[in-house]
């Protein structure tokens, strides 16, 4: 084995293809990591600015609070600027704190859903946290074309390099005429082929890993973590799959041209056709819910609440006998907003029902499409990388859920204050809810890796079946 490996190295070093493959890998991985790093840095920069801006706002509130308490600033502030008012620090435009989904250092390996999903939102009493605040638009062309990230290099480009280095290992020997001399030596062709593939597998895997480590080091990515070792494992299995496939196709004993055709057809099938079919079927069976319907439902809810305004408010005042409904002329600002919030909550309730059915349909579509991952190692690998990078849609769903829960906490904190027209104490000011950033998601990484391994084993079994079925195919 060592002898074959040594000569394999010698032969590969003498071919241009070897150097081209190495150069393409290093360049593309470095570029992908650089791209990812830029995107992450942009996000981190945005997050830093948001935190600074939030800190500044609430520091100003605190300064005003202290001044007002000390009686030094009363004259300059109107009631809606008074930080002791729940409306000021809990509902008005200047209020609210950010819920932020912080990217991980390894998020750069796979863009996943991060270019279409929102990674932060400002939460206050009435903020429409995942609708109105969507200011984080990505260039639609980039979304359509896909990002040039490490996942793209590994899933799309890397198999092509594997194909380039393996398509003709056996057929090339036949075509250049060295096969008869080779076959007259006391070595099994299967063993010889395996040794050559093992060498090329090791070379490519090592090239990817070294390129990745080099790029991470150069671009100062903090990558040494459990996730990095999960990433290495996933890369190893994905690479093994393509080599197992190539081993099998080499053993079929076809010409180099036919091997290329079969390998490229497999690549096309696993990388493009199955994912495209999954998307097409998912969108046909579970059509995308209409956004217009959602907007119309919201308008309808607003009109309904306007029509039923008096009934809603009567109910509210019956539930709060200590409060008295005043005419529009008599109403203070606080009175107006109390009624505004009451009506808004009714609207929210109705809109949420439509929103829920909209979300359910989307979830059904995604869930249906996800089942197709078991038909394609490329989809499995993409999902596994998204899991490592935490850019999978489920992380964003949990983030949205957490942000909604945070908004509920926010409301629960401020509602009694402005319903009862109470002022916030200095102690309560320090207890304004803060978003807890932990995201807990059930990981499918192990299942995805297991499925990838099964794919690889399928072709490994086919390699052994090929031996017993067709011993002489090589010399035919």
């Amino acid at each position: 084995m060592l002898h074959i490996l040594r000569f394999e190295l010698k032969q590969l070093l003498a071919t241009r293809l070897f150097w081209w493959v190495g150069a393409i890998l290093i360049t593309s991985i470095s570029f992908a990591v650089y791209n990812g790093k830029i995107a992450i840095e942009e996000k981190l920069h945005t997050i830093k600015e948001l935190k600074e801006e939030q800190e500044q706002r609430y520091s100003n509130f605190k300064l005003d609070f202290d001044s007002l308490e000390a009686g030094t600033k009363k004259a300059q502030l109107s009631w809606f600027q008074d930080p002791r008012q729940a409306l000021t620090v809990g509902m008005f435009r200047n209020s609210g704190k950010y819920a932020i989904l912080e990217p991980k250092p390894l998020s750069l390996i796979s863009t996943g859903q991060s270019d279409v999903e929102i990674f932060y939102t400002k939460v206050s009493y009435l903020s429409d946290i995942f609708q109105a605040n969507n200011v984080n638009f990505e260039n639609p062309f980039n979304i359509a074309a896909g990002q040039f990230d490490f996942a793209f290099v590994l899933i799309f480009l890397f198999p092509l390099l594997i194909i380039a280095l393996t398509y003709n290992i056996l057929s090339g020997e036949r075509e250049q005429g060295t096969l008869p001399l080779l076959m007259s030596q006391p070595v099994q062709i299967r063993y010889w082929l395996m040794a050559k593939l093992t060498f090329r597998f090791s070379f490519l895997l090592l090239a990817v890993l070294l390129s990745l480590c080099l790029a991470f080091t150069v671009f100062q990515v903090d990558f040494l973590s459990t996730d990095f070792f999960k990433l290495l494992f996933a890369i190893g299995i994905y690479t093994f799959f393509w080599f197992a496939l190539s081993f099998y196709i080499n053993l079929l004993g076809k010409s180099s041209a036919m091997n290329t055709l079969l390998l490229l057809a497999s690549w096309l099938l696993f990388v493009f056709l199955i994912p495209s079919m999954a998307n097409m079927l998912a969108t046909s069976i579970y059509p995308m819910p209409s956004r217009v319907e959602l907007v119309n439902a919201k308008r309808q809810a607003e009109q309904d609440s306007e029509r039923n305004k008096q009934a809603i408010l009567t109910k509210f005042y019956q539930a709060h006998p200590s409060l008295v409904q005043k005419s529009e002329k008599e109403q203070t600002g606080q009175d107006f907003y109390r009624e505004y919030v009451t009506l808004h909550e009714v609207i929210d309730e109705q809109v949420n029902k439509v929103q829920q059915s909209f979300d359910n349909q989307l979830e059904a579509q995604q869930s249906f499409a996800n089942n197709f991952q078991y038909l394609s190692p490329a989809i499995l690998m993409q999902n596994a990388l998204n899991e490592i990078a935490e850019t999978d849609s489920k992380y964003y769903k949990v983030f949205q859920k957490n942000a909604h829960a945070y908004q509920q906490n926010w409301k629960a904190f401020f509602k009694p204050k402005f319903i009862n027209d109470e002022k916030i104490t200095i102690k309560e000011f320090g207890q304004i809810p803060v978003y807890q950033s932990s995201i807990s998601v059930d990981s499918n990484f192990s299942i995805q890796l297991l499925s990838l391994t099964l794919f690889s084993l399928l072709f490994t079994v086919l390699v052994f079946l090929q031996k017993s079925k067709n011993v002489n195919i090589i010399s035919a």
Binding site: H3, F7, Q185
Partner: protein, 233 residues
């Protein structure tokens, strides 16, 4: 050393080889003559284990090729009509590679000795094989036979396309191996070389061995006459 017994190979209804029984002992050179399609190359391929016989057995050094294909290859060296080597490696590297596959470990100096013994000029040893002529590649093949310490040599039209000088050098190498006790089975069209080197000659026609005799029993002219009579009847 090389034995076949009732050896037959059929492809559907076509009989490529019909009940061939031959024996090539150590120090013998058995030349198989015959027109194209007579079954000479099929015989060689059966000895190499490249194809499986339909009937009969092939043995190398007492081992059945069908049963112990890999093991029997330890005893043989094979030179096809057009021996091809890895063009981006030198002659020396090619020899080292194939000798290594045959589980033979040699120093560079020993490999150089084999190439010298096979008659390859010293300046060619470190040249890439892409610059070699056919004769030079055949010499690497002989060097490999020497390196493998092969007990049997299987040759499939090895002098076809060689110039007379290269062909003569090749014949001399075969005689050198013969003197070392190597058993050689050679398929050839070249009556002159067959007469020059063979100890035994067999003439094949349509998959059957129709004539077999010792080489020293006939002159070159008689051999030609017998050959032509055999293939034309």
């Amino acid at each position: 050393m090389l034995n076949s017994k009732e050896l037959s190979k059929e492809y559907g209804n076509f009989s490529a080889l019909n009940s061939l029984t031959i024996s090539v002992n150590a120090g013998d050179i058995y030349c198989l003559l015959g027109a194209n399609g007579a079954g000479k190359s099929t015989t060689i391929n059966l000895f190499l284990g490249f194809i499986q016989p339909t009937k009969g057995t092939v043995e190398i050094n007492g081992l059945d090729v069908s049963q112990k294909a890999t093991q029997t290859k330890e005893y043989i060296a094979y030179i096809p009509e057009n021996l091809m080597l890895y063009p981006n490696l030198t002659g020396l590297e090619n020899l080292a590679y194939f000798a290594g596959l045959a589980k033979k470990k040699y120093s560079k100096a020993q490999l150089v000795d084999f190439l010298n013994e096979a008659g390859l000029q010293a300046e060619a040893h470190q040249k890439r094989v892409s610059q070699y002529s056919k004769g030079m590649r055949q010499k690497v093949g002989i060097a490999l036979a020497l390196a493998k310490d092969a007990k049997a040599l299987l040759l499939d039209e090895p002098t076809s396309g060689l110039d007379p000088q290269a062909s003569n050098e090749f014949s001399n190498l075969l005689l050198k191996l013969k003197s070392r006790g190597v058993a050689t089975l050679m398929a050839t069209h070249d009556l002159f070389r067959a007469k020059q080197v063979a100890t035994h000659i067999g003439i094949m026609k349509q998959g059957s061995l129709v004539k077999s005799f010792k080489a020293d029993e006939v002159s070159l002219a008689e051999l030609e006459k017998v050959y032509l009579e055999t293939i034309n009847t």
